[in-house]
Subunit: 201 residues, 4 copies
């Protein structure tokens, strides 16, 4: 029964993660007017902000999906407060396609700093909510299985904690170089993903 | 077999809930024309109706998802009438992104009252259909497990019943202050969600 | 193993059904230009083709989902031909949002007959493919469980067979009255759905 | 536990496959301006690139979904490198709706070669990543069940290997005839799909 409760919660959450990741593709647009540069030129030279934003957001959603599963593996039951925080977390995850579209559109034109701020702020909020979710679940072992080895619990705590300063750095970098902020976000996702993927242990 | 019937129905319904919630993000648009206010200004000062509508609809879908699960937990089988009412309910849930977009666009400009009416009417219809679904399932214990404690059945009945007058109030409020109607809708979602989340009991 | 094969196929198919149904909402648009009729007028008097098309397609997808499950309940394994026909069926189901959008846009303006032809042809193709799928699975009991009572097999055969002439009638009606064709499509969905929903037996 | 790890990974991947396939329908647009050709003319004579692109991409996603399941059937556990490669593969699959839209729009007008290049390059990248994923999983039987018959492992290897040269041929053909490249892509999907569908063995 309890088990079944977390299973359904995982399925709903996984649905949100998968759909948010797939909706990212709707950000891609090309200029089809007569006086536009050739399609090849646009694809190779003008769309790289869109590629960068797409890859960054897709990998980031992949990481949060993996980390979310580590949480769900560790806990044995959910309560109403957990479910409330989880809904807020999903609300932010499902929002990601919007700032991603902003970055894809505004990078290299006026407004790029604001776009990257919106993007970084969304990722930061997501990282904070993930920590709140985990802190609530793990405080005094509230929702955690008794059999769970402490080393595993600590691993999730560390994975959660490292997300906040790293995402905050995106915002700091963006004040100086918006493009650099997004590249940094992409880099931490790409490096972090293999480390986050502890399905084998 | 019967069990399996409800499992598949849950998965289909969960899919609709998750997709409807995630499609909400497509309502967000910014003005990218040359004479538009700066992106930062738009994000901070002009997009709040969109944020409000997004949060309200996301939390509302979260609540109906939780309540729907309480129904599915309580019943042991489905029949064709139940499935028909459930399809009508999902039809209304999947419709929510449209009035949400209307609220996001029209709040604070001419047409806002009509937008909030459309929004409130959709939520009211959803609340009514949820009550019809539950009344059909629980009348004389028609689809309910014999083992189910009456206190649990009454809890679902109360959760369902309270939705109709609360949503009707949105419409009443909107005649006087459309913005107030949406803020009220958001507030009841935010307060109601933790209460609705009875996965632990 | 075989069981697991059909489970995964059901989940993939259910995903397509649920997403196609939820994407229907994207057809709704309102005229936001300065000289447009008021939002309330548009919602009450001009958008009814969109409501009609939405309800018709949503209920139709609901029916095909239910019928598809009856097929999956009846068979014990899938082979590559079955999977190929099933993919073609899903291809048509996932296409439904496009002719739905056409009906929503063109009803009552020039082009309405073509729009309803496209809509009816899509539903007809779906009905035919469903029959092909079922004929392949049930011919000589090819993929059907030995324990399956013949009465259940005949029920699925009848449910499948009735779809083709009914959908063909939509096309015939549309030559005379396009609006009537869509209303007829909606009516058969609404009447057929409760009958199709044999989850209780 | 390990089992459960692969189950969840399959569900997340299946979600991406199903959503990417269903989002393809959003590529369809008609010209609704007053001076446009009649809707019937557009549907019958001008939209065939969109139909072709839609069918090709839908069948291709169907094939990669089936092949992905063959991989998941063969392996008994996943590790972080596997998960990383899988995320990159999903990133490319979720991207397919964009080049599909380009092909639908640009075929038969200037820019068609670039559009088909983008399309073929996406499919080639997907085929390569699928081979990398499988090579990683099967190298020295790293993630493969000990009970798995070698003939089954070889079948997956062959199905994976044949994808790369076939997709590369699309790019070669496109330099000479872009339309021919897409027709070839559609043909190999249609022929390959029944062969890929080895759920019965």
């Amino acid at each position: 029964m309890e088990e079944s409760g977390t299973t359904r919660l995982e399925m709903f959450s996984d649905g949100i993660f998968a759909i948010a990741a797939t909706l990212l593709v709707l950000e891609f647009t090309v200029n089809t007017r007569g006086n536009a540069p050739s399609l090849g030129y646009q694809l190779l030279h003008q769309l790289w902000p869109a590629y960068l934003a797409y890859a960054t957001s897709f990998l980031t959603i992949g990481i949060i999906w993996i980390n979310h599963h580590h949480v769900m593996e560790t806990i044995v039951r959910v309560d109403r407060t957990f479910l409330f925080i989880n809904t807020l977390l999903l609300l932010v995850v499902a929002f990601i396609p919007f700032p991603t579209r902003l970055v894809a559109h505004y990078l290299q034109i006026p407004g790029e700093r604001d776009a990257v701020y919106a993007y970084g702020a969304t990722l930061l909020l997501m990282a904070i909510l993930f920590n709140v979710l985990w802190a609530y679940a793990s405080r005094n072992g509230r929702l955690i299985s008794e059999d769970m080895p402490p080393v595993k619990v600590r691993a999730v705590t560390q994975a959660a904690a490292v997300g906040v300063p790293l995402t905050a750095l995106i915002l700091v970098l963006a004040t100086w170089t918006p493009v650099g902020g997004v590249i940094f976000a992409c880099a931490i996702s790409a490096f972090y993903l293999p480390g986050a993927a502890r399905f084998d242990r």
